[in-house]
């Protein structure tokens, strides 16, 4: 570790060649995972992640480095080596840093240090057992809880040393169903920035086990999804991954600032149907994607991205903001000290509209109801994205009909947002992991049930009839 005067000394060593900002991010994380498989504890691991990441900025250029050796000698050596990339006159020096402990708005009620392994195993086994015994076609089940307790210290030439703590944990239950050579899977992974109380008090793991088993069996019995262009109703909760891929990523300053996003230079313009409003909120209490402060020390905030179809704000970090003439708005995140931070999403969702999910189904003559999605990806430069449907049904004459499997949906973000023609009132959020330049980070996605008037669906089931 390093003390305040050492921190000042290290920062000043990095400022000699003209950097206008320097930051040292120190992370010490303890992780624990327990994995149950087919009714027995299969593996258990403990991991300690520890290191420091140093960032120097000089106008529109950045240098970054990390090391596991968190001591004054190694950090001085690293920052000096990074500073070699700049060849300007010194513009900044630091004489004082204010130490502040950040208030933990998501502090755990039941910290995991007070929960022994046996209690966690009992909780997981209850749900895993329900899934395993649900039907003889369920041939493999697994459950796990992954716990992370992180302490960070952010030392910045903005004049502060911020000490923050975070607990976040995620449970998962998955199963494999098989019959006549067909194999399908079910999965749910609830998580939060919270302690064991989130699971013990709010996640009924037995009910979750039943849902996961049912989902796998349903897809086993499903026909292949037809392909072609059709109206698609996307279910609430994890259905929000559509918005995350199609719109969320292209709104990050990392691509907007370099004019490399389809939504660059479009503030104030209509980029979505007037039924669509969307928000990114890093302050939601115990939200899986929430943080007290972002990874450059700015407070997290609730940002309105789209209001009635009009683009209002981007997600901005200070560095990319320089190219835009804008300050960071609390969206700067990284996976760990090994990554240079940049603008990312936190908890991102489409807001409630005026229709009920029943009205949306009733209004659809022929199309697909993608009740649950499996994940996807996007090219923010062109806006092209894709996602897979993990639970889907055909809709005929306003009624939900036969389940279909193997469906995937593709399109461009720009078209899709304009094609949302009905928005439900049943908003829910779900957890996921988002991968991009600054690593894999926990995020919430979310939305109410929505309908896309027309999108390309891929599947093995022949033409749409």
């Amino acid at each position: 570790m390093i003390n305040k005067s050492q921190a000042i000394q290290i920062l000043n060593a990095g400022l000699k060649t003209g950097a206008d900002y320097a930051e040292i991010f120190i992370e010490d994380k303890l992780s624990r995972v327990i994995v149950i498989e087919n009714g027995k504890v299969d593996t258990s691991t403990v991991a300690r992640t520890c290191g420091a990441g140093i960032r120097l900025l000089n106008k529109l250029n950045s240098v970054y480095g990390f090391t596991n050796e968190v001591n004054v000698k190694s950090l001085t050596r690293l920052i000096t080596s990074l500073a070699d990339a700049f060849k300007d006159k010194q513009v900044l020096s630091i004489d004082e840093l204010k130490t502040k402990k950040v208030r933990d708005k998501h502090a755990p009620e039941i910290p995991f240090s007070e929960v022994n392994d046996e209690e966690i195993i009992t909780y997981l086994k209850e749900g895993e057992e329900v899934a395993r015994n649900y039907d003889k076609r369920i041939i493999r089940t697994g459950a796990q809880l992954a716990i992370n307790e992180t302490k960070t210290t952010l030392i910045s030439t903005k004049g502060f040393i911020l000490k923050d703590e975070k607990t976040h944990a995620r449970a998962a239950l998955s199963c494999v169903a098989a019959e006549n050579g067909k194999i399908e899977t079910g999965f749910e992974g609830p998580g939060a920035s919270a302690g064991f109380e989130f699971f013990k008090n709010t996640v009924d793991f037995k009910a979750l086990g039943e849902r996961v088993a049912k989902a796998a069996l349903l897809m086993l019995e499903a026909k292949e999804c037809p392909s072609g262009k059709m109206p698609v109703i996307i279910g609430n909760g994890f259905g929000g991954v559509l918005f995350h891929e199609a719109c969320g990523h292209p709104l990050e300053a990392s691509s907007v600032s370099k004019n490399l996003s389809v939504f660059a230079n479009k503030i104030g313009q209509q980029i979505a149907s007037p039924l669509v409003s969307a928000i990114d909120d890093g302050t939601i209490k115990n939200g899986w994607g929430s943080n007290n402060i972002d990874d450059e020390g700015n407070p997290t905030q609730k940002t309105v991205l789209i209001e009635n179809g009009i683009l209002k704000n981007y997600l901005i970090d200070d560095f990319n903001g320089r190219r835009m003439g804008l300050k960071g708005n609390g969206a700067c995140r990284r996976q760990s000290y090994k990554y240079e931070p940049t603008s990312r999403m936190s908890n991102t969702f489409i807001c409630n509209g005026n229709s009920t999910p029943e009205e949306i189904i009733k209004a659809t003559k022929l199309g697909l109801y993608a009740k649950s999605l499996g994940g996807g990806s996007v090219n923010p430069v062109t806006g092209e994205f894709n996602f897979a449907c993990s639970e889907a049904y055909m809709v005929r004459d306003g009624k939900v009909c036969e389940p279909v499997r193997g469906a995937s949906v593709i399109g461009t973000g720009q078209e899709i947002l304009m094609n949302i023609d009905m928005v439900g009132n049943d908003l829910e959020r779900a957890q996921g992991m988002c991968g991009a330049a600054s690593g894999s980070i926990p995020v919430d996605v979310g939305q109410p049930t929505i309908r896309l008037s027309s999108i390309t669906v891929g599947g093995n089931g022949g033409e749409l009839k």
């Binding site: 494999v176 062109t382 092209e384 894709n386």
Partner: protein
């Protein structure tokens, strides 16, 4: 500070561990990128990770740490005890005594580690200039980056086994956009190598630029079944999923579609796939992460499934020798592969294209983490490429989906090409492959 391994093994013995091992990974890298004529970002990283395991009462405990101080040996031992205590499965917990023979070789070339920030910056700036000058439709260079990295792996265990390997490699990555009217397309290429002299700047510039330019005028094709040529990247991407189903653990747990199919014809006779960890490549390994010696072996021979992929544990359960395919991920190793080589055929890609009246040439697949059902082999993925008409590449295609089943499609192999290339992303040396019919969805 170095880890006191001697102390760790002493404490392990005192705590009555039946066996213990330490896997030490160290890495360092330098990467730079340019944007608009300037060095835009530079990163210099170095770090290490230690994974330690111990067998306590027949159960595996495991711990990972990035901290080496005087307390580390005790921390490792206590964590192993804690994690081993809760294990209930009765799978054999094996720490390897050692293989009889290791094909020890070094591919380490320190000349790759130039530390030459100025020289590489100048080269990247030159590439950026050349890309913009290549064609007036090249609108923007999204990124041009270079990375050189060093890695070192050491395995030591309580039986006295000591293995070590180091490697240095480098890569160039570039992404550009091409614009025509309102249409924007991206082109992307990665070049990676162990040999500092292998990089050809002009060839690289051409490939990146042409990748973007060739997509201008992209449209969707009609939804129907077509003969499809998969280029080396897309062919190896799909074959890699097929290989993942050869994981013996999944077979033993009844969640692989290759269960019961050992030594049976599972795909076309035209497919022969070999794992070759000892060939000089970025993926060179002479021992796997569990200390088992690696060897060249058939994975699929003329369409027949020749072996499953084993770790020490899954091999013991099947009563076979381990195959050197154990990769670390915590306490439990899982099966993986080093360099995979798909045996090329005799037909040139040009001749494959000429043989098709109406078909599709695929060179891009997206959304694999979501659209591929690894257990069943069913997939539905976003794709891009070209229409083939009357034996020639025609209009570019984008935003189409391709759907099929892995086993079924690789039974429909019409031709395996002779144009093998190394695909970094998949770790395959693979040619183009023509599949007689696949379902494509577009308009």
């Amino acid at each position: 500070m170095k880890l006191n391994e001697k102390k760790f093994f002493e404490l392990a013995k005192e705590s009555n561990f039946e066996a213990a091992d330490i896997f030490f990974h160290k890495g360092a890298s330098l990467s730079l990128s340019v944007f608009h004529g300037e060095l835009n970002s530079l990163t210099q990283n170095s770090g290490y990770i230690i994974t330690a395991r111990g067998v306590v009462n027949g159960k595996f405990g495991s711990v990972t740490t990035e901290v080496i101080d005087k307390n580390t040996p005790e921390f490792l031992i206590e964590s192993i005890k804690r994690t081993a205590k809760v294990i209930e499965n009765d799978d054999p917990s094996i720490i390897f005594k050692g293989s009889e023979k290791y094909h020890k070789k070094s591919t380490f070339n320190k000349d790759v580690l130039t530390n030459d920030v100025k020289g590489k910056t100048d080269l990247l700036l030159d590439i950026e200039k050349k890309l913009l000058a290549y064609d007036k439709r090249i609108a923007e260079v999204v990124s041009v980056a270079y990375e050189e990295s060093y890695s070192e792996e050491k395995l030591s265990n309580s039986y006295g086994l000591k293995l070590a390997q180091k490697q240095a490699d480098y890569s160039f990555v570039a992404e550009v956009t091409a614009k025509q009217g309102e249409e924007v397309r991206t082109g992307f290429k990665v070049f990676a190598s162990l040999d500092p002299n292998e990089f050809d700047e002009d060839k690289f510039v051409k490939e990146v630029a042409e990748d973007a330019l060739s997509k201008l005028g992209s449209t969707q094709c009609k939804s129907k079944k077509y003969p499809v040529i998969l280029n080396p990247e897309t062919a190896s991407t799909l074959l890699k999923f097929l290989l993942q189903s050869m994981d013996a653990e999944d077979i033993q747990k009844h969640s692989s579609f290759l269960e019961g199919k050992l030594n049976q014809q599972i795909v076309s006779k035209k497919l022969t796939i070999v794992e070759d960890p000892l060939r000089k490549s970025i993926l060179f390994k002479y021992f796997d992460d569990e200390g088992v010696a690696t060897n060249k072996k058939f994975l699929i021979k003329k369409g027949v499934l020749s072996t499953y992929l084993y770790t020490l544990q899954s091999a013991k359960k099947d009563g076979v020798e381990p195959t050197g395919n154990g990769y670390r991920g915590g306490s439990k190793a899982s099966a993986g592969t080093a360099l995979v080589v798909v045996k090329p055929g005799r037909t040139s890609e040009q001749n494959m294209i000429s043989s098709i009246n109406e078909g599709i040439y695929l060179n891009d697949l997206q959304g694999l983490h979501a659209g591929m059902n690894a257990q069943s082999g069913n997939f539905s993925l976003q794709a891009a490429g070209f229409m083939i008409r009357n034996g020639k590449l025609a209009e570019p295609l984008s935003l189409i989906t391709v759907a099929d089943n892995l086993l079924e499609m690789f039974n429909k192999v019409k031709t395996v090409g002779n144009n093998s290339e190394f695909v970094l992303r998949t770790g395959f040396d693979c040619p183009s492959i023509l599949i007689s019919k696949m379902a494509i969805s577009g308009k």
